[in-house]
Point group: C2
Chain length 203, copies 2
């Protein structure tokens, strides 16, 4: 048990080290950094955290984080409303947006089905997705872009069953050898699947 020179440092280290991936040593380093900086640095940081938690909301359509009731993507006229891409969280939306390859809509599940962590279908935004799918007249395709893990696959499987008979094309993002990756270092399951799911070359 370290004896901190000030109870305010102790408290700050305690709170900072509650963040994921940050231990007591890193927390102390960050706290001492803030002490050396101008007071405004700490105020800006603290206010941004409060604003983040109290002023952001979730889009009522896709459940992505948003400033308004409906997010920029759902409200945009430039997005293709015939496709919904189902993802686990906001980071996945950012990653896909970053590719510049997708112009459809999203649906953020807020997790995947994981009985080990006590997350069942009712903890996710699945009912909202089903309602959204049934209410839309333009929708033609749903892309599952979930992690290639057992939990991700279970969730895709569950959703596929739920949407049976809805006259929709269902697809999953391609899995295979990462571009730029080394065949030698690709795990055998991925490599095996990439052979089975091989695509024809243009000739």
């Amino acid at each position: 048990m370290i004896q901190y020179p000030s109870k305010y440092i102790e408290k700050a280290v305690e709170e900072i080290s509650k963040l994921p991936g940050i231990g007591k040593k890193t927390a102390l380093r960050l706290a001492l950094h803030l002490l050396k900086e101008n007071e405004s640095t700490s105020h800006l940081l603290a206010n941004s955290l409060i604003d983040l938690r109290t002023k952001t909301r979730y889009c009522t359509h896709c459940h992505n984080i948003s400033d308004d009731e409906i997010c920029n993507i759902c409200i945009s006229h430039r997005r293709d409303k015939s496709i919904i891409c189902v993802v686990e969280d906001t980071r996945d939306v950012l990653a896909i947006e970053n590719t510049g390859q997708y112009t459809g809509l999203y649906h953020v599940l807020n997790g995947v089905i994981s009985p080990m962590d006590g997350i069942g279908p009712s903890e996710l935004t699945i009912d909202s997705l089903i309602n959204r799918v049934k209410a839309s007249e333009e929708l033609k395709e749903i892309i599952f872009a979930l992690s290639p893990t057992m939990e991700g696959d279970t969730t895709s499987f569950y959703l596929t069953k739920k949407m049976k008979g809805l006259q929709l094309e269902l697809s999953t993002i391609a899995r295979g050898v990462p571009i730029g990756g080394d065949l030698e270092y690709t795990d055998e399951i991925t490599l095996g699947r990439s052979i089975i799911s091989r695509t024809k070359n243009d000739q």
Copy 2:
């Protein structure tokens, strides 16, 4: 340039990623973590950062971080007032306190002399140390516990010259092979010095 779904996330990521060693990706991960947690988590964290920056002060004697005008160590009757250990910053005080091997006082320089970073003697608490040394009647020894780098050595050298003729014993913490370390992996400068500065065994 990533297009964040909310300006509050963008602002929070910007502020968090100003912290040393935290990039935009980690900042986003931390921001999304706070969004998932209770509102109280963000409030506790934000308030602890403000308190840290606005309520801590520096001990007028040793310049360590403190809640009061004089810190717990300087005010304690149990500390040996005949020795001052000169360190770079608060983290070094914590590290030495943690060993349980030292019962004297400290002096926190708030850095080391580093012309490359524009830090000269006047940026440090050197004048305060000299005044403290001259004013004390009990002081017998000063231990330099600075980093074994060129900057640390320069600072020790500067202080040694400043204290010439003050009838004090000056010492530097031992440098050598770390206990539990492997000789094979010790750099040659450390190993060389550890041979030159060898200590006699009890017989």
